[in-house]
């Protein structure tokens, strides 16, 4: 199965059915994204009324192409897309991305069309993504079949977070958002109405993808709870999984006369089942990618004792409050340093600085002092994880702080926090380049550390064979 999905992740050829020179057509944007994003495999525009688009020879139908394409994008209206499926099957296309909306999301007629989709591919080697999908993005193979032109949104480059989304538009917008500080993805798949390929298979694909280190999902419903549970649990052993799940599933018939039935809301059940599967839960799109990034870039801490280093007292205080109070059931501890460690730390700080946790280097804090102090923290048996702030308000902190943070993050779980805009934005970009999970707020940095911690707890349980 995973060899099959290699054809989606890294296709040798892509056809765009409905490719068009008309900028108002979706087939135009899809082809343009494919070409501009740098895809180097064979591209086959398909349109019976054109000879050439973007300098590429255009084919009247898939029947005129003398190879089986790995991916065929159908950028035609719903009913026409269904008809084209027969061509795809004759061509032995491996994956068909059905862009069109107007299927089950619109009601009974659409459901009938989806039944036709299933009937046409049933028993063939052709698999369908969608319909009602904005497409897929695989930066490592420079494949972009998205339908929004890149003068409207930026597409991320290569990264290690895989993104599976049931919503197309939200998926595209989130990808645009994460480009702000240069975050990349290992892949994006908008599963749409998932008449054929579901989130479980895509999860499995990313689980086996060497470019993927964490997997994040946005789902409005789960197609097969038991299959999702076992695949997510399997994936969580090697690659952290984060889920943002919205929407209520259909009410199961719960006996009102039972207390358990009355208590079993979808949300409570989901919460428990996700913990059991080792899946981290996110509650909005920002958390989803924040946690995905932390879990892709850093291993979980070995315990709950966190050291905080800052050059602003207030930042340290807010961090302490957020880390050690629980509003979501997760509470971490501030690490306590030994007296030897404190003596060592004092060497690199002004007498007015605090070397209790949080370590506040005050306005004198420099990249050199960070390097020395981080060195003590990574060697300390009293510290499981580090939150390090890179704050540009004082003269001795600049982008050269990224290096000591990078060195420390290779030795102990580290999350960086940055506040501000003027110089902070470039700090965030540089931290991202260095592969350090960095966040533009105290709350996001501490929550990322909590997500890392949770994954560590879940993973240890899963590894114990439970």
């Amino acid at each position: 199965m995973n060899n099959l999905f290699e054809a989606l992740r890294n296709p040798g050829s892509v056809a765009v059915v409905g490719a068009s020179p008309d900028r108002r057509k979706i087939g135009n944007a899809v082809l343009e994204n494919l070409v501009r994003y740098g895809y180097s495999g064979r591209i086959y525009p398909v349109n019976p009324s054109c000879n050439e688009i973007f300098g590429l020879r255009c084919f009247p139908s898939l029947d005129g192409i003398d190879q089986a394409v790995d991916v065929a994008v159908i950028a035609l209206p719903a009913e026409k897309s269904v008809e084209v499926l027969d061509q795809c099957v004759r061509n032995s296309s491996k994956f068909v991305i059905m862009v069109a909306g107007g299927f089950s999301e619109l009601g009974e007629e659409g459901r009938k069309l989806e039944a036709q989709v299933r009937a046409r591919i049933n028993g063939t080697g052709t698999r369908v993504i969608g319909p009602n999908t904005v497409g897929v993005l695989f930066p490592h193979s420079a494949l972009n079949t998205a339908l929004t032109p890149n003068d409207r949104i930026y597409y991320p480059g290569k990264g290690s977070v895989a993104f599976i989304s049931q919503s197309g538009a939200l998926g595209l917008l989130v990808m645009d958002s994460i480009t702000e500080f240069g975050m990349g993805v290992s892949g994006f798949v908008n599963i749409g109405n998932r008449v054929d390929v579901t989130e479980v298979e895509v999860l499995s694909m990313f689980m086996h993808d060497p470019n993927t280190r964490s997997i994040v999902l946005y789902l409005e419903s789960i197609s097969d709870g038991a299959a999702f549970f076992s695949k997510a649990r399997e994936a969580s052993l090697t690659k952290p999984v984060v889920l943002l799940k919205t929407g209520r599933s259909e009410e199961s018939s719960r006996a009102a006369s039972f207390h358990t039935g009355a208590m079993a809301t979808d949300d409570r059940v989901l919460d428990g089942v996700l913990r059991q599967a080792g899946v981290i839960r996110a509650y909005d799109e920002v958390e989803l990618l924040d946690y995905g990034r932390a879990l892709a870039y850093q291993p979980p801490p070995s315990g709950d004792r966190i050291a905080v280093i800052t050059t602003a007292g207030g930042v340290g205080v807010v961090t302490t409050d957020l880390l050690t109070t629980s509003h979501d059931g997760i509470r971490l501890r501030m690490a306590s340093f030994s007296s030897e460690e404190k003596d060592e730390l004092k060497k690199y700080a002004l007498p007015i600085a605090s070397v209790n946790n949080p370590i506040d280097l005050t306005a004198d804090g420099s990249s050199e002092a960070y390097a020395a102090i981080l060195n003590v923290l990574v060697e300390s048996d009293n510290v499981d994880g580090i939150i390090a702030y890179a704050l540009p308000q004082t003269p001795k902190i600049g982008v050269d702080i990224v290096d000591p943070l990078k060195v420390a993050s290779r030795k102990k779980t580290l999350v960086a926090g940055v506040i501000g805009n003027r110089l902070s934005k470039s700090l965030l970009v540089e931290l991202e380049k260095a592969g350090i999970p960095a966040y533009p707020s105290i709350g996001r940095a501490t929550n990322a550390m909590k997500a890392l911690y949770c994954y560590g707890v879940y993973r240890r349980r899963l590894l114990d064979g439970n």
């Binding site: 709870g225 009410e251 079993a264 089942v273």
Partner: protein, 228 residues
């Protein structure tokens, strides 16, 4: 509601038609078979001459039409031998045609609820929560998909506030290992599928420093697979 024989009543109002409610005694027999501790007891329609139970005892009406026994005055607790005779006569007048359950009283302890329900997405799930009247007051509950491991049971317990009794709270300390084992046993019982169990409430489960016992049990099973 309709009598379908074998001591089972088909619920026709709030429950699905293909589900059968077991009476407490039947539910407890299924639990006992799985090694889940329940109090010693006997189901009767007349008071026998000799009662081989340790007094004091509890007297409960046993009738699947009655879902909330205590709400209708169908439960009498802490009865000595003499009280039992008096109370039994009163109950018989109040619930003609019903059976009754006499059980040894359980020691005082901390009350929990263990429940099972079928979730629309994930199938059978198991719940642990603060029991008795507190379940629906505090919503202090944790769910897992069946089957669960002992480690899952441990995490469920950690998620609810009553876990403080495991390490001791206000002089009360409970045997949490027994409670976790009960969760795993309930999960095993359901995943075996033998009785077609659909939903259950074990509420309260009484946990003491010694052990965990099911004081009251409600269970519904799929019609056709019913019966201990």
């Amino acid at each position: 509601m309709e009598f379908i024989g074998g001591g089972f009543w088909m619920e026709t109002d709030s429950n699905r038609q293909d589900m059968v409610m077991l009476v407490e005694h039947e539910a407890k027999e299924i639990l006992h078979e799985e090694g889940i501790p329940v109090p010693c007891g006997m189901e009767i329609s007349e008071l026998p001459h000799e009662i081989r139970l340790r007094f004091p005892v509890a007297l409960k009406v046993s009738d699947s039409r009655i879902l909330h026994k205590s709400d209708v005055g169908g439960v009498r607790l802490n009865l000595g031998q003499k009280d039992l005779e008096t109370e039994f006569q009163k109950m018989k007048e109040k619930f003609p045609g019903s059976s009754f359950l006499i059980e040894e009283m359980l020691p005082r302890g901390i009350e929990f609820i263990i429940g099972v329900v079928r979730d629309g997405t994930f199938g059978h799930v198991i719940m642990l929560g603060a029991g008795g009247i507190y379940t629906e007051l505090y919503h202090d509950v944790a769910f897992r998909k069946i089957p669960i491991s002992l480690a899952d049971a441990g995490e469920m317990l950690e998620e609810i506030k009553s876990n403080r009794f495991c390490t001791g709270f206000r002089g009360m300390r409970i045997n949490c290992a027994a409670l976790k084992q009960m969760l795993v046993s309930v999960s095993n019982l359901v995943s075996k599928g033998k009785h077609g169990i659909e939903t259950m409430d074990l509420n309260p489960v009484i946990v003491t420093s010694e052990d965990a016992l099911v004081a009251d049990a409600k269970m519904s099973v799929r019609a056709g697979k019913s019966g201990p």
